[in-house]
């Protein structure tokens, strides 16, 4: 099996960078976990390590989604990409910008005074805002890169004007994503307004635009791995992404309970965010129903990862979110490790597995291989998933202890963290190593897939067609 259009191979550039950043993210994640036990464990302080951990995550997922889009759009438009040189330029510009930002964080970690605010009014190395730490000059470059990326894809669609539901939804999600970066790009004197607009970026990304993209890519993967009929997968996709935005946009209100915003957000956020798991559950049902209906699987590993993505999207983003989304509960859990637990499982299920499944669905064609062994793919999946489930359980435990002792009993934050939660941190770090093993196996598989002779009997090999 090969790609239908040569330009689809550009996706591989993006996937490679994504996989490398994934490794970086998990290594610094383990350092951060160890710093919970020994705060002075590493030469860089926790704040820098954590910025690297979450920024590497956000960037590699975005880069992975860009790669996936460059694969999907030519296929759906039935034509070559509008401009491969532009895609390559946009790729390398992104790599250079991200590298500069990372070097800036490290420099700030060594010399905190270097983060001067003289030039932009905000820090030249780090804006000091969670998730969107990247300084203003990098914001502008990242936005430019996103614009070039969107232009390239829209021009490709315009070549043949085949507006399929999948690519229309995918590009709508990506455009929404790019637009929602803007509310994070201006300074406000009020910390309340700062956080209000900051949630526009963070929430409308992960519980809005990104879920729309996930819905579109899930439909694409079900079609590719099962030869499912387009009009059926697109019908359910529309219902899913509609419900994602109908619940998710006003669901932003669950971040506006306690930050100095009016009380009506308790109602708006409580009601709409409680409904947010519904479309995610629908995606699980959709994945299972389609799999049962079309029994001829053309890419078992790809389908396996796609279904796992749907399940853990629901469990991580849906269930682990809804348990603390009601104001009556959130009043006690807000700002505790419960949020960290939700964040870890949600990002893993909704987006890490999404990008990995897109890699397994598209890479055999990009590498031009007919069959590949799924052994390493399954191995890495179980290492990562079991480790992540236990990481999340340890953090959930820590969060419950913290909520009870700090919030209900009034014990000191530091005492709870250093004494009562110590074993949770130790187990979390151990399972972190397990997760890293899974990522290393995945990375090896990524670089070797299609480049080595099959060792398993061909009957057990996975046929990759489509």
């Amino acid at each position: 099996m090969t790609v239908k259009y040569e330009s689809q191979k550009i996706a591989q550039h993006f996937f490679t960078f994504a996989v490398l950043l994934f490794l970086v993210q998990v290594v610094v994640g383990i350092i951060a976990a160890l710093q919970f036990i020994w705060p002075e464990f590493f030469i860089l302080n926790f704040n820098i390590i954590r910025s690297l951990h979450i920024n590497a995550l956000v960037v590699w997922l975005l880069v992975g989604l860009m790669g996936a889009t460059y694969y999907v759009v030519p296929e759906e438009s039935e034509t070559e990409l509008w401009s491969v040189p532009l895609a390559k330029f946009q790729f390398w510009a992104t790599v250079v910008t991200v590298t500069l930002v990372v070097l800036g964080y490290i420099w700030m970690g060594i010399n905190p005074q270097a983060n001067s605010t003289a030039l932009f009014g905000t820090g030249i190395l780090n804006e000091g805002r969670e998730y969107i730490e990247a300084p203003r000059w990098a914001d502008i470059l990242i936005a430019l890169s996103a614009v070039l990326f969107l232009i390239n894809n829209f021009m490709t669609v315009l070549k043949t004007k085949k507006w399929t539901g999948i690519q229309g939804t995918l590009l709508a999600g990506l455009t929404f994503l790019a637009l929602m970066y803007i509310p994070g790009m201006f300074y406000t004197k009020s910390m309340v307004k700062d956080q209000f607009w900051w949630w526009w970026v963070v929430h409308l990304w992960v519980e809005g635009a990104w879920e729309v993209i996930a819905g579109a890519l899930l439909a694409f993967m079900l079609m590719k791995t099962l030869n499912a009929q387009r009009h059926v997968v697109e019908r359910w996709m529309y219902i899913e992404v509609a419900l994602v935005l109908f619940t998710g946009i006003l669901g932003t209100g669950h971040h506006y309970y306690w930050i100095g915003t009016p009380e009506y957000w308790l109602w708006v956020g409580g009601i709409f965010s409680s409904l947010e798991p519904i479309p995610l559950l629908l995606m699980v049902w959709d994945a299972f129903r389609t799999t049962r209906e079309y029994r001829t699987v053309t890419n078992k590993v790809g389908l396996f990862y796609a279904v796992a993505h749907a399940i853990f999207n629901f469990v991580g983003a849906g269930l682990w979110g809804v348990i603390h989304t009601l104001p009556q509960v959130n009043k006690w859990t807000h700002g505790t490790q419960i949020t960290t637990a939700h964040g870890h499982l949600a990002f893993y299920g909704a987006y890490v597995l999404l990008v990995l499944s897109m890699i397994y669905v598209t890479l055999p064609a990009i590498r031009g291989t007919r069959e590949f062994s799924g052994a390493r793919a399954y191995q890495s999946f179980w290492w990562m998933t079991i480790s992540m489930v236990f990481i999340v359980l340890t953090i959930t435990g820590a969060g419950m202890v913290q909520t009870y002792m700090e919030r209900l009993m009034g014990l000191d934050y530091v005492a709870v963290k250093a004494n009562y939660n110590l074993w949770f941190w130790i187990f979390r770090a151990i399972f972190g190593i397990g997760f890293l093993i899974g990522v290393v196996i995945f990375a090896i598989d990524f670089f070797r897939l299609g480049k080595e002779p099959l060792k398993v009997p061909s009957g057990e090999a996975i046929r990759a067609e489509g």
Partner: protein, 224 residues
């Protein structure tokens, strides 16, 4: 419903919800300034210091942030200003067990940051963070507290000090203070902490009446 109809439902429905969200946002923006004190230039400069040192990389504020270090929303209510200033400029000099590194925060930056933290402690957050209900239940049950114990609670000594595992960690643990120090030392220390512990960050409680100081000292001496 046809796919086309579903697509339109998705597109226009989402747009509709977004419009509602924008309307609520405009309404909220009009109300925010009334729910918080005025933002002076000092507060704004303090916010910039907050961003410059990436404080959110470890702390939370309004409950959002990194969960590695305590929430800063109400810190200005809990800790005396002088303590905060000294801590910010050199954390380990006032609390040797402190995890926070010395970032080289200047005296001026510390003043601005404290102004910012005072501002945020006065924002109307719909009652967050809630008062610990179990601790309150104990206080109600403890109607027979001694005068010294009541003063200890009123003065919020527990913000910094710990007794039997309850209270703060920034000041020394007082669980067995009665067996470490005598009555005279404790009474004198309340009036002028720095005369007894040269580098102490504790404010003086010399403004209390002689009876109050005696009650508080009785309580401390009883902690063996």
């Amino acid at each position: 419903m046809s796919n086309r109809a579903l697509r339109n439902l998705f597109a226009f429905g989402s747009l509709g919800f977004f419009v509602i969200f924008v309307i609520l946002t405009i309404d909220t923006m009009g109300k925010l300034d009334k729910r918080a004190p005025e933002i002076t230039e000092e507060v704004n400069l303090g916010k910039k210091v907050w961003h410059k040192y990436d404080c959110i990389g470890c702390h939370t504020i309004l409950g959002n942030g990194s969960y590695f270090a305590p929430d800063m929303t109400k810190i200005a209510e809990k800790k005396p200003k002088e303590y905060l200033k000294r801590f910010l400029m050199d954390p380990k000099s006032v609390n040797p067990k402190a995890t926070m590194p010395n970032f080289g925060i200047t005296s001026e930056e510390a003043d601005h940051l404290i102004a910012f933290l005072e501002w945020i402690s006065k924002v109307d957050t719909n009652g967050w963070p809630p008062k610990p209900i179990l601790a309150q239940a104990v206080a109600v049950a403890g109607a027979e507290l001694s005068a010294g114990q009541r003063l200890y609670n009123q003065l919020n000594c527990g913000a910094c000090h710990m007794i039997n595992g309850i209270g703060g960690t920034t000041g020394p643990d007082l669980t067995h203070v009665g067996s470490r120090r005598d009555r005279q030392w404790i009474l004198g220390h309340f009036k002028d902490p720095q005369a007894y512990v040269p580098n102490s960050a504790m404010p003086s409680y010399g403004h209390l009446s002689e009876k109050e100081l005696n009650d508080l000292t009785d309580y401390m001496v009883s902690l063996k």
